[in-house]
Amino acid sequence: MALKIVKGSIDRMFDKNLQDLVRGIRNHKEDEAKYISTCIDEIKQELKQDNIAVKANAVCKLTYLQMLGYDVSWAAFNIVEVMSSSKFTYKRIGYLAASQCFHEGTDVIMLTTNQIRKDLSSPNQYDTGVALTGLSCFVTPDLARDLANDIMTLMSHTKPYIRKKAVLIMYKVFLKYPESLRPAFPRLKEKLEDPDPGVQSAAVNVICELARRNPKNYLSLAPLFFKLMTSSTNNWVLIKIIKLFGALTPLEPRLGKKLIEPLTNLIHSTSAMSLLYECVNTVIAVLISLSSGMPNHSASIQLCVQKLRILIEDSDQNLKYLGLLAMSKILKTHPKSVQSHKDLILQCLDDKDESIRLRALDLLYGMVSKKNLMEIVKKLMLHVDKAEGTTYRDELLTKIIDICSQSNFQYITNFEWYISILVELTRLEGTRHGHLIASQMLDVAIRVKAIRGFAVAQMATLLDNAHLLTGNTQRNGICEVLYAAAWICGEFSEHLEDPMQTLEAMLRPKVATLPGHIQAVYVQNAAKLFATVLRKHDGETESQAAQETSQLLIDRLPLFVQSANLEVQERASCILQLVKYIQKLQQKNVEVAEEVTALFAGELNPVAPKAQKKVPIPEGLDLDAWINEPPSGSESEDEKPKAVFAKEEPKHSRSRHTEVDEKELARRREVRKQEQASNPFYIKASPSSQKVYDAPGVEHIPVVQIDLSVPLKVPGMPMSDQYLKLEEERRQKEKAERKKKEKKKKREKRGKERKADSGPESEEDITPAHQVDIVTEEMPENALPSDDDDKDPNDPHKALDIDLDKYVPHCRHLQFIHVLHIVMCRNEFFSKTEIYDFRRIQKKMLCSIETRLNQLSWFPVQKSSKHKKKKQKKEKEEKEKKKKKRHHHHHQHHGDAGGEDSVQNGTVEEEEPLPVSQSHSVSLKREVKVYDIQGNHQDESKVVVSVIFENKSDSFLKAMEFNVLDSLNSKLQRPEGAGAHDSLTVPFQLPPGVSNEARFVFSVQSIVMPQKLKGTLTFIVKSDESSTHEKLDFKLHFTCTSYLITTPCYSDAYAKLLESGDLKGSSLRLEGINMPFHHLLARICFHHHFSVVERIDSCASMYSRSIQGHHVCLLVKTSDQTVSIDAKCDEPSLLGNVLDEIKQTFSKC
């Protein structure tokens, strides 16, 4: 044996290890791929060996190769083997490899559950640590669900090293399995005050991540964090907390006020730049949140801005960058205070560092005014020309458009200038933002009526020079512009000087290389232009020009009729037939212009993008109801082109004339299609039509001379720069005129105050060059003013939006058995008459809560002293009656939208409101208490019940004593020497609003039956003037499920267990279960502590073990809505009870 080991290790020492592999790769620079492939072959051989050391070495090398980009997923099973080695050295290698290459799609991951669980509970802290680290990288929803409870236990591990890792990994678990957040949260909160700074930091980290996404649920933690902020010296923790406060302040302005002072102190005292920066950032957030309520913080804003200016002026580029970043936050609410630093920001625009330029760009948005817009944009245009790299240039482009179009083109005084800027931007090579420019062009042309003439002329030139835009295949992003150009030229064709030329440009064969949707617009707008041309030549009898136009269309359109794009094809064939028809009429000298123009009559108005959404749905209209029963089968394909048509061309208000024509055309096309279909010789792209395609193509291929050394300039385009000069002159002129006028005025009003006219022009003085009529977007009459909340529904954090303060009845606790609530609070004073009402309300409330709680929690009995005993008795009786009823009905009542719901675990036992003290009538809010019961395998007769006491009253609670009336079967474990009925002192006191957890151990003898224990909690309520002794009664419900512990089982062991014949069977049928099978399994696992051994289709075997070692096996099968569970257990009565509990769980859905 020893010899074998020695031999093995001698063999091994000549295997390549990681260093050899790396060295080898470095020595084979020329044929690296070949060398690596031989290495992989070697590794495959090594993985086949039995020696775990060899395997681990191979896996280690694979991890390296993975880094170089080699897919190593084929070795996933071997990685799992290495992970399960008992030696730390190998285990670590295995977990490292797993964390590098496992992901949710890796199928062997499900094999690891038990191994990881074993490692987590390993006595060696580094085994646990390595498992946690690995798990943090490849945790899946299944793993999270199965291991959440184990990890939660580790959060209270004795070693801080494990605690901090367990705390941190909980965030990953929450993300994958949101149900675990609620039960884990109290413990997580506890860890905020852990004595170990590392654990504390981890807890802060996790809560900050959680709160960042759903801040409102964590507002209640603010006082705790505030305390941490003032006490902690760990900068890392401080930064996190301060960042968190930044997220919280918008929700709670009072918090902000409290923060300003300590934050300012930190700003002054800290030497850490990172901390200082985050403080400034949060102060800004505070000021922003306060600004609405209190305008009196301008001094603080100035302070922040000044601090930031210092950062921006710093030679350290990082600080400069961050300063600009923070500045942009202030800009949103206090643009004026930023504007005074315009010089600095414009200077940053010339910085050699792209990141800084980008940040400065963000700020420019707030810097512009009517006066300097042109100047700033000119500067940006220069940058566009110089910019290397498309990212920065695209960013510039979007910023230019943003700046110009902001608040409804507020700062644009000259739209001709803006159009020429847009046209100039089309020269950009390879930009992704063609559609952006296009939409701006459309927007301006539609909304600014005065500009249409100019815009149309520009667009016509663009169309004429389309080859410049489309010439290079890489530039296809920009050809979107042609979409806009074609549409504008068509729609506003009355402004065109030479529509014929534009029409010709739009029908060039080269157009066929454009994307389909653009071609479609081309074709449609060619028809519009055609109408315009006809109209122009209206009245001239036998007009040569009109007929030529028709001929042009008839010649060119067949090219589009052949288009592969349905949209283009359909429009083209429609229009072609129309034109042919018109030509016939023309030849008969019929006046057609009028009627053709009528096709495109009517003006389009801009409609707000959300207009449709904002129309409230009229009452009684069910949008989901079928209008007609859906036909079975393929209806969608035929309708598709139609739908697209309607979408692209929203001109629904055509004259009736059109409809007739289109119907006619449709009919004809149908006939034609049928003809074609029945004609066996018809080939779609016939050679003759190919000729038609070629002939005009040759004629019209433009001979272009592009000198690429010179920056591309679209010929005939006005340069935007000249507008700057023009504008300057215009303003000068205006100024002069104004001066004249003012002088006149002055002359008239001699002796009156003089206006300083030599100063800089104010905004209002600048008048737009054109009489601009900006059409605002139309909204439907009864639009709702609300804004839509655009939250990404796929955001994993959405699931974590759980209000942790609110008690939710169907609390999904992990394997926690009971959740119980004791609500009691005693602070609001009511007069005696009011009491009664209040009690009734409370009773109702409690009843409804109870129904929903569904036996999950219990309420304490508050034994009220002297008052109204009679009445209470009556009430009690009533209540009891109600309760009975409820027990019959609550299954139906239970409305749980989430589908997954609570276990029948704890039981609402008794409730009775109102402690009435002698002198005052006191109403109740109450106090909440949550507890869980957990057993463990090590001790087969003990269960731990943890109880969370929360004081919701305004009084101080102290001297709490917890007592349970022991039954024969279950006993509360009391310290030695204590009597059998003595109470246990709860080892803490509760100030108002504070909660704490205490644990009590119960010893249980028989676990085969569920049982209830009665208990009481006594405590002293201390208020300002008095202190009273109070008492709460409650009952604990130990279900049989609570004695089960999720225990993994391998399928072979499971089979053996079933074969052994020691187990007795029982079965259960559930009808009407309407949930996916995996949900069903998850629910059984979750609520009843089972684990899935094997699952085949709609059949699964499950296993669990009781704390006393009873095996419980389930075989779950499902077929439409019926679930049958065959169960086996060595203890029939335990099994019966567990099955009853399962039945109850499912009867609730």
Partner: protein, 198 residues
């Protein structure tokens, strides 16, 4: 959250990659290439933040990197991390903790070769600093202590049976010029058992 940590050299060769979000291998390589492309063309005296590597992307994310001699250390983080804090994490700046400093201590004096030959060790160190995309520990002494304890454990586990392998690798690492670089392992492997006359 930290989305990824990449270490590569001046030629873009990866020395350590650690993604906290799944990407397929080819995607990982593409990200490395693109990140290298972005980072390498920047001067040393510009800021250490970069936005919009389109692959690792999203407007919430940015790249924070440092350049040491022949190595780039790049972190991709979202807005919940403090920019300067991460820079500090990469190297002691104003706070007291670091990643590179930790490497320094553990490897005596870190240089690229150490990273090349001990990628696994670097991973183990990194695991003590960042876990699952969140910063686990910033106290350098604590990190070093934990790493050393684990290494000691590994050594004690190796024990006798690992000794020959260690000896061989020590010989290999001596890197003497007269020893041929590629020992024919196969031959020796056959000879060794024949030497022992059992």
């Amino acid at each position: 959250m930290i989305k990824a940590i990449l270490i590569f050299n001046n030629h873009g060769k990866p020395r350590l990659i650690r993604f906290y979000q799944y990407f397929a291998e080819d995607m990982q390589q593409q990200i490395i290439r693109e990140t290298f492309h972005l980072v390498s063309k920047r001067d040393d005296n510009v800021c250490n933040f970069l936005e919009g590597g389109s692959l690792i992307g999203g407007s919430d994310y940015k790249l924070i990197y440092r350049h040491y001699a022949t190595l780039y250390f790049v972190f991709c983080v979202d807005s919940s991390e403090s920019e300067l804090g991460i820079l500090d994490l990469i190297q002691v700046n104003l706070l007291q903790f670091v990643f590179v400093e930790t490497l320094d201590k553990c490897f005596e004096n870190v240089c690229e070769l150490d990273l090349i030959f001990h990628m696994d060790k670097v991973h183990y160190i990194l695991q003590e600093v960042v876990m699952g995309g969140m910063v686990l520990e910033t106290n350098m002494n604590e990190i070093v202590a934990q790493v050393e304890l684990q290494n000691r454990m590994e050594k004690s586990e190796g024990g006798l049976s690992a000794a020959p392998a260690r000896a061989v690798s020590a010989v290999k690492n001596m890197n003497l010029p007269e020893i041929p670089r590629n020992i024919n392992i196969g031959d020796i492997n056959i000879k060794v058992p024949s030497l022992s006359p059992f």
